[in-house]
């Protein structure tokens, strides 16, 4: 294998692929980066067994300045190789594989020789047939990920909850995540034939990495789903993730359909107040704040307490309050995560009772996005 390439273009692609490569892996060859060279282009692959990323630098793309001298394949130690590539002196670099997988990297007057591994011993990426793919706008997918992954569980004791449940049914896509103390749900309309239906659970970690990998320039992401893998294709990039096995709980029944107290806030204003109230509660072992809503006085008061440090009380600024009086306690961290996911909008919070879950929805569109938080019972 021998080729020369524009170093800046190469590093850009390498950075994407490297997201999938972990230094700590039980499979030694996965600490490596796989390079496959054909007349069409150079393909880079990285994987940690859960996530695999593949990206191609095409010969036809002039920016790549890719000259293929001899096609072939090699696996190089990712950490050393990427550091070398980033520190080479010239714009162009040449990579040549010699005997025993010894690989020479040249740029200007600098020459490195590093030990590579046989590309045939690298695991094969899953083959995912291209039947029934569907596409989503990149920014919509990134938003969906941002809105749901916050509710994913980080406890391995219930593996299924570490994923986002994605259901595609008759052109409606529903994404749900819950760690059993909160729940996030997003609905979308997707243009697919109505007989294309899916029900899968994608690991939250994979979605976070995907979201970081997707470039803003790519307009759409193509999604293909197989039995235990999902593939996201955008531009020159292919992102594979394993799927979680098992049955996701039926979450639809958990979302309250009515409410007895409603309050409307400007999300960033409430977020700032919750951040203040949680300054002290964080210090105590009881990370809880209390919200008191009084409809007759038209007041909303937040209270946080840490026995060792002190307490905080703040009269909240809100847009509108209706319904019954209520006193409710909750974990401020859950509230902060939820509020951040709304950005700069007005939101409605709907309560039913002090010990029942409450929901947050955008005031403008209460149909497509909902955050649910369970309260805290204090003794």
């Amino acid at each position: 294998m021998k080729f020369s390439i524009n170093r800046t273009q190469f590093i850009k692609t390498l950075n994407d692929v490297q997201r999938a490569i972990s230094a700590k892996t039980t499979i030694p060859i996965l600490t490596g980066l796989k390079l496959v060279l054909s007349q069409e282009g150079l393909t880079l692959t990285g994987s940690d067994a859960d996530i695999s990323i593949e990206a191609t630098l095409a010969t036809t793309d002039e920016k790549n300045q890719l000259t293929v001298e001899e096609p072939g394949a090699i696996v190089l130690p990712a950490r050393f190789f990427s550091e070398i590539a980033k520190k080479l002196p010239e714009d162009q670099m040449t990579i040549a594989v010699g005997d025993n997988f010894q690989t020479t990297i040249r740029s200007g007057k600098s020459e490195f020789t590093i030990n590579g591994l046989d590309a045939n011993s690298y695991p094969h990426l899953p083959e995912i047939a291209d039947q029934n793919p569907f596409s989503i706008a990149t920014d919509v997918l990134k938003q969906l990920i941002r809105q749901t992954v916050i509710a994913v569980s980080n406890q391995e004791s219930r593996p299924i909850l570490t994923g986002v449940h994605l259901v595609l049914n008759s052109g409606e896509m529903l994404a749900v995540a819950t760690d059993s103390h909160r729940l996030a749900q997003r609905k979308l309309t997707v243009s697919v034939p109505s007989d294309v239906n899916y029900d899968v659970i994608i690991p939250g970690k994979s979605l976070i990495e995907l979201s970081r990998t997707l470039a803003d320039g790519d307009e759409t992401v193509e999604i293909r789903i197989a039995e235990n893998q999902v593939l996201f294709k955008a531009g020159n990039l292919a992102f594979y993730s394993r799927l979680l096995e098992g049955n996701y709980p039926d979450t639809a029944r958990l979302i309250p359909t009515s409410s007895s107290t409603q309050i409307e806030f400007n999300a960033p204003v409430l977020l700032a107040a919750i951040e203040r109230a949680s300054l002290l509660s964080h210090e105590s072992r009881n990370n809880v704040v209390r919200l008191t809503l009084n409809t007759a006085d038209n007041t909303a008061i937040i209270y946080g307490n840490s026995p060792d440090v002190g307490n905080v009380e703040e009269t909240l600024q809100f847009e509108n309050l209706t319904g019954e009086d209520l006193e409710i306690s909750f974990n401020p961290d859950y509230m902060k995560d939820a509020l951040r996911s709304f950005g700069q909008t007005a939101i409605m919070i709907n309560f039913t009772a002090a010990l029942r879950p409450f929901t947050l929805v955008p005031s403008e569109d209460q149909e497509h996005y909902i955050q649910l938080i369970t309260p805290v019972r204090t003794f």
Binding site: Q155, E156, S157, R158, L161, T178, S180, H181, L183, P249, T251, L254, R285, N286, V288, S329, N331, L355, P357, L372, T374, P375, V376, R377, T378, F379
Partner: protein, 376 residues
């Protein structure tokens, strides 16, 4: 030089502390149950001829002690010391001892709630204020010893002073059925007379080093400088310098918080399948949730203990950022740990789950009923 680094010392002599030590507790209970044992050398240990010489003496009665038998000695050695195979060995009956200990604690509570239990047979009581309204501490002690004797037919020794260290030294001074009072003005004289081995922390290892330095009694210890003791004995030296001056301001640690709550079970018929293990873990988790709830606690760490047929015991823990207290969570975590350390084929004799890193459960984050079995 020493003056530059003088650590201030305060001596709190305002308290009234009692140390109660039950005399030959386990042996005395056995004698009470079987009075014919009183005249025989009784050793609380499994008979070494049944254990192949293994085992240690937990207690011996006063007859056995005359032959030089003492606790922590090997049972085999005790058998050798007592001539003509007269020694009577009895395996300890801990549930019985515990129930007697609870009886004694009820008596303590009639006097004060500031009780720090050290073992089944030993406790410190802070009686600076006593519930009986007695003026003299000696009367409080007399009441306690009489009440214990009446309720349990057991004899105890008591030490009375103004701190825990002196109270313990005092209870040890005269045994059995002793009652020793050390007043603040007597403390230094009392301690000076004691052999160095009697001081807390001076054991088999330290005593010879003390003797090499010419420290044989409390008086010798009192003559040493603080720096010398710290240089030679570190933290122990720091403590000894104070103790020999009758200083020990540690409070009586009553209401000591529980550090962990656990539940374990031994299986006479070893478990041999993963299904059996799963069923047992579920049972243990349900009972553990009940215990945690009773104590209003939840914890950050779950520990699984597994013992196989070969008596190999493995424990493994997992710590979380959110408190755990629900049976379903405990079971799932225990099962997850099991999958990393357990092999049912090895035959499982014991399973135990413990929750530690406890905090008072003053709040509970309500959980969504995700699965049918979680619905209330």
């Amino acid at each position: 030089m020493a003056e530059l680094f003088k650590i201030p010392m305060e001596n709190d002599t305002s308290r009234k502390i009692i140390h109660i030590d039950m005399d030959a507790f386990y042996a005395s209970i056995e004698e009470r149950e079987q009075p014919e044992l009183r005249q025989k050398p009784l050793v609380i240990a499994r008979n070494p001829s049944d254990t192949g010489g293994k085992g240690v003496v937990t207690t011996a009665n006063y007859v056995a002690r005359q032959y030089g038998v003492h606790s922590a000695m090997s049972a085999q050695k005790a058998a050798e010391l007592i001539p003509n195979h007269q020694a009577v060995f009895k395996a300890p009956n801990f549930p019985l001892y515990q129930s007697v200990s609870e009886q004694i604690h009820t008596i303590f509570h009639a006097v004060t709630d500031k009780i720090e239990p050290i073992a089944f047979d030993e406790a410190y009581l802070d009686v600076t204020k006593n519930k009986l309204g007695l003026t003299h501490t000696i009367d409080v002690v007399a009441y306690l010893q009489k009440a214990i004797l009446k309720e349990t037919q057991l004899v105890s020794s008591a030490g009375i002073s103004y701190n825990k260290f002196l109270a313990k030294m005092a209870s040890d001074y005269r045994k059995p059925a002793g009652r020793t009072l050390v007043l603040p003005e007597q403390a230094i004289a009392f301690l000076s007379r004691l052999p160095i081995e009697k001081f807390r922390g001076v054991g088999k290892k330290t005593a010879p080093r003390m003797q090499e330095l010419g420290i044989l009694t409390g008086a010798d210890l009192l003559a040493q400088s603080e720096m010398m003791l710290i240089q030679n004995f570190g933290k122990l030296g720091y403590g000894l310098y104070r103790h020999v001056r009758g200083i020990d301001n540690r409070p009586v640690a009553y209401q000591r918080e529980r550090k962990s709550i656990g539940n374990e079970n031994t299986y006479g018929q070893p478990l041999i399948s993963e299904e059996q293990v799963q069923t047992e873990l579920k049972k243990l988790a349900i009972e553990l949730e009940r215990r945690l709830r009773k104590n209003q606690k939840h914890g950050l760490t779950v520990v699984l203990k597994v013992r196989n047929r070969q008596f190999e015991t493995i424990t493994k823990r997992k710590t979380f950022s959110e408190y755990v207290g629900k049976a379903a969570e405990i079971e799932a975590i225990a099962w997850e740990i099991w999958t990393t350390i357990g092999h049912a084929e090895a035959g499982i004799r014991l399973l135990g789950i413990t929750v530690t890193n406890l905090a008072p459960q003053t709040f509970e984050n309500i959980t969504l009923p995700l699965y049918d079995w979680e619905r209330e």
